[in-house]
Amino acid sequence: MGALKRTLFYDNHVQAGATLVDFGGWEMPIQYPAGIVDEHIHTRIKSGIFDVSHMGRFIVSGREATAFLQYVLTNNVLALDLLQAQYTMIQNCHGGALDDAYLYRFYEDEFLLVVNAANAEKDWNHLNTEIKFFDAKIVDRSAEIAMISLQGPDSKTVLKKLTGSENLTEPLKNALGILDYQGAPLLIARTGYTGEPLGFELFAKASQAPEIWEKLLELGAMAIGLGARDTLRLEGGLPLYGHELGLDNDGNEIPIFSCPLAKFAVSFAEVKGDYIGRAALAKQYLGFKKIMERNLSDLSELPRIVRPIAITGRGIARAGCKVFKAGKEVGVITSATMVPYLKAEGYGLDSKITDEKAMRAIGLALIDGDVELNDQVDVEIRGKMVAAVIAPYHMKSDAPPFARPIIYGVEIERQFDSAPDYQTKALNLLERSYDNTILRQHQTINLIPSEQSHSAAVRLLSVMDPSFRYAEHKKTKSFYDYDVFYYQGTAFIDEIEYLMMEEMKKYFNCAEVETRVISGQMANVAVFSALMDYKNRVNRKVDAKRLGYVMNNHIIKGGHLSAQPMGALHDYIAIDPITEKTAVVNFPVEKDNPFKIDVAETKKVIAQYQPELIIFGKSMVLHKEPVREIRSFVDDQKLGSIIMYDMAHVLGLVGDHFQDPFAEGAELVTGSTHKTFFGTQRGIIAGNYDKDDYKYGLWETIETRAFPGSVSNHHLGTMLGLLMATYEMNYFKDEYQKNVIHNAKYFAKCLADAGLDVAGDPAISYTETHQVVVRVGYGSGPEVANRLEANNIIINYQATPEEEGFTASGAIRIGVAEMTRFGFGDKEFAETAGLMADVILRNKDAKEEVTKLRGNFTKLNYCFDDEAIAAQLEKLKSTL
C-alpha cells in the first residue's frame, strides 16, 4: 500500500476501528467492527452513513454545458429540472460504458457530475478531450466538496436533526435541496446506492465534513464500509461498474442495454441530437426490445442481459461462476454473495419486521436473452451444480420507509372460513351483512371524507325496479336532439333521467349535465377522452394527438388519483418530446402551507406551459380552489385553457358556503355523487356551454364519450336513488352545507385543543371544507388508523405533502359529512375529539364510549321523513 489516497474521513475511520483496504487507489474502510452483516441490517432498519468522497465530483458550466452533456452522456439533460438528479452513463462510441454516473442540477447554471472513484481519472481525461469542441468548462471539485451517503428509513429524521430543517426536499426520488449547515450550504439529494426508499447523499464543505460525519453517528446512523455497500446494492439489484458494466469476465465489453437500468439512463430524444455511441445504443435498444417482447428468433443485437438470480440450493455463487440451463451454458454470474435480512411476520400493512436474522445467497447474472423469468437454472460453484432460479427482483422499495427483501417463492395465502354447503353459505352471508350494517350504521363513528350514508328512500329506490333493467339512449340530430332509446320498457327511466338532469342543472346552476357515468373516475375518463377527440376533430385520418400540457394538483399534495397520468389521465396525456415525461405540470403550493395553491406562482407556470386543460380539485382538500383568479388570468392572457374542477370530495358543498364553480369561471365540473353529496355511488359531469357557444361541440363529444364511450347500460337503480338524493340536496343544502363546514372547523379546533397536531392554517380554523387532517408522526398513519378502527372510529391514513407514499403516511384524514348527517353537533364532535386523542395519544380503549355515543345518533337527517313518506316506503318494502 504505497501512495494510497485518503478521503477527508480517514481519521474518522481509523478512530472507529475500520478495516482499511485499497479500493481503486484509495485507502477505504471495507468494514467497521460491527461487521458487514450488522452494517447491512442497520442500514435497512435504521440508517447508515457511507464515505463516498473517493468518488469524482466534476462541475460542468458554460454556454454550451447542456449541449456538451447531451453529447457525452446517455441520458437527456433537458429532462433534468432544477433541483433534480438523474442516473446516466458515460458511454463510448461502441455503446459500452466508460462509467456510470449521476448528474445533479442544484443550480440553474451548473451541473454536478459524480463518477466512480476507480474511473475518475479515465472519465476526467475523456471529458476534457470532448469538451474542447464546446463553449463549456469542466472543473474537478472532488477535493473541495466532501460527499457522504446517508441511507435508510431513519435517514430523513437524522438529516432533519442534523440541519434543524423541517423541509428537506420534495418527497420524491432524485429530488434535491440546498440546506444550511452552520452558515455553509449543505447540498442534499434523494439518491443513493442501496435501493432504500429513503436515502440522501450529502455534499458538504470539506472543512465541515469530518464533524458532520461524527454528528450523524451521534444521531444514530451507523458507519458502513464498502463490504455492506456492495451487499446493499446487490440486494437492490443495482449495477456495479466492473461487474454489470464495463468489461465482462472474458474481457469483452458489456453493452449498456444489458444493464437493467439502461432504459432509464439512455435517451433517444430528438433534442439530444447526435451523441457519442447513439447508433450503437439504438441497435442495442432494438435487441433489448426483442428480449422484452419475447421475440427471440435473432438476439444478435443484444445477446445477453443482466438479471437477478436467487440460489435455491446450498452454496454461495460468486462473480465468474457459470450458469447453465438444462445442461447448456447460458450465462455468467456478475456479482453474487450471501446477504442478510430480517424476517417479517404478518401480511400487508400489518407485517412487522422482526429481530430474527437470516441469510440468503443471491446475485446478478449476465444471461442469454431467451432465458426467462422463473426459469430453473444451475450455477457451477467449485465444480458442483447448485440449483438457482431467475428471479424478478431481490427487494422492493415501494412501501416506504422500509425496503423489503423479496424471498423467491414466497406466496401469500389468505383464507376465510366458509360453510361447506350452499344453504349455510347463503344464510351466513345474510347474517354477516346484517352484523356489518349494524356495526357501521349504529356502532361506528364513520369519518371517512369520501363516504356518506344514504337515506332510507335513496337506499330503497336503488334496489327497486328498474335496477334490473337496461337502457341506452342517444341524442339524435334528425329529431332535433330528442333522445332515442334502444330498448323497450324505458318510459319510466326516461322520465327519471329527465327530472334528474333538471335537478342537477339547478344544483350546479349550469347549462348541461351528463348523468350516465357511474363513477367519478369514469366521469373524468369521459371528459379526457372527449377533450382529446375534440382536439383532433379536424383531421381524423392520422393518429389522434393526446392532451398536453395539463395542469393538476400533484397526488402528493392531495391531487385526485383520477386526474393523474397513473389514473384516469393515463391514456389521454401526451409525452413531452423534450423532457420525455408526461405533459403534466402541477399547481405550485404556498411555501408555508402546502395544502394551498400559490396563485402568483401558478400564474407563472400557466404562462410558461400554456396548458390545454387546468384541473382543480383534490382528495385531501382543506381550502377553496382559486378558480376565479385563474379564470381571470387565463382570460386576460387569452390562453384558451379549459378550466375543469373535479369536485368529487366537495360536490355536496356547491353553493354559497363553499364554492360556486361555474359562477367563478369553471367550464366543466366532474365528481362522484356520494362523498359530501347524498349518494348514490355514481358520477356526474356538468358543463356550462350554451347551445350557441362554439364549444358546444365539446359538450356533445362529452355526451358521446359517456355513451357509448364509457357505459352502455348505466345502472338504472342507483340512478333512481340519485334523483331522490338530489331532491334531498336541493331542499336541505343550505342548512347541511353550513353545518358541515362549521362542524369541520369546530372539530379541528377540538382535536387541536385535545393535544393533536392538526394540519393547516389555524387562522381559518384549519379548514374550509368537510375535511380535517391530523399529523400523527411519520409512518404512523396506518397503525393509528388501525387502532382507531379497533375502537370503532373509522378514518383514512393519509400521506402529507412531505411524505413519500401511503405506507409512510404520517397523518390521518377525517371528514365530518356523514356524522353531521347523523346529527353530530358541537357537543358530539368535541366528545369524539377527546376519544380520538385518548386512543391516539394515550393508547386508551375507547370502544365502549364510542359505541355508546354513536348509538344515540342513528337517525339520518336532511332527508324527507314525514308520515306519508314513511307509509310509502313501507309499501315499497312490501314488494321485496
Binding site: 461487521g35 463490504g227 452454496g315 460468486r318 450471501m338 441469510m359
Partner: protein
C-alpha cells in the same frame, strides 16, 4: 485476538488439538476475524481420506470464499454439523467450534506445526 495455549497451529491459521492419534481441527480467531461474518461452511464427508495441506472444506464470508487445509493427513472421523446451519458460531468462538476430527496417518507431521508462541509471532507480523 485470542490464542489458546497447548494447541498446535498451522501457517494457514488452523488450530489442532491432539488426543492420542485423533486431531480436532478448526480455524483460529485470527482467521475468523480476517474473514469477517462467516455465512457458509462446507465440510468433508466422514470417511474421506485427505492428505496433508489438502483442502478439506470451504469457509465463506460475505466478502469471499476461502479454502481450509488439513494440517495433518488422515481420515475424517467426525464433522461438526452444527456449523452447516449456524456458520456464525465460528465468529462467536473459533476455538470452541471445531470443524473436523481426523484419525492421523502420521503423527510425525505434528512436529511441523507451531506452538502458541510461534503462531502469535506470525500473526503479529
Amino acid at each position: 485476538m485470542k490464542i489458546v495455549e497447548g494447541l498446535k497451529y498451522s501457517k494457514d491459521h488452523e488450530w489442532v488439538k491432539v488426543e492420542g492419534n485423533l486431531a480436532t481441527i478448526g480455524i483460529t480467531d485470527f482467521a475468523q476475524h480476517s474473514l469477517g461474518d462467516i455465512v457458509y461452511i462446507e465440510l468433508p464427508e466422514i470417511g474421506d481420506t485427505i492428505g496433508k495441506d489438502e483442502t478439506f472444506g470451504v469457509v465463506e464470508s460475505v466478502k469471499a470464499a476461502s479454502d481450509v487445509y488439513l494440517p495433518v493427513s488422515g481420515t475424517i472421523v467426525k464433522i461438526n454439523e452444527a456449523l452447516v446451519d449456524e456458520p456464525e458460531l465460528v465468529n462467536a468462538d473459533a476455538f470452541e467450534n471445531w470443524m473436523v476430527c481426523v484419525e492421523m496417518d502420521n503423527l510425525a507431521e505434528l512436529d511441523e506445526l507451531m506452538d502458541a508462541t510461534a503462531y502469535e509471532t506470525i500473526c503479529n507480523d
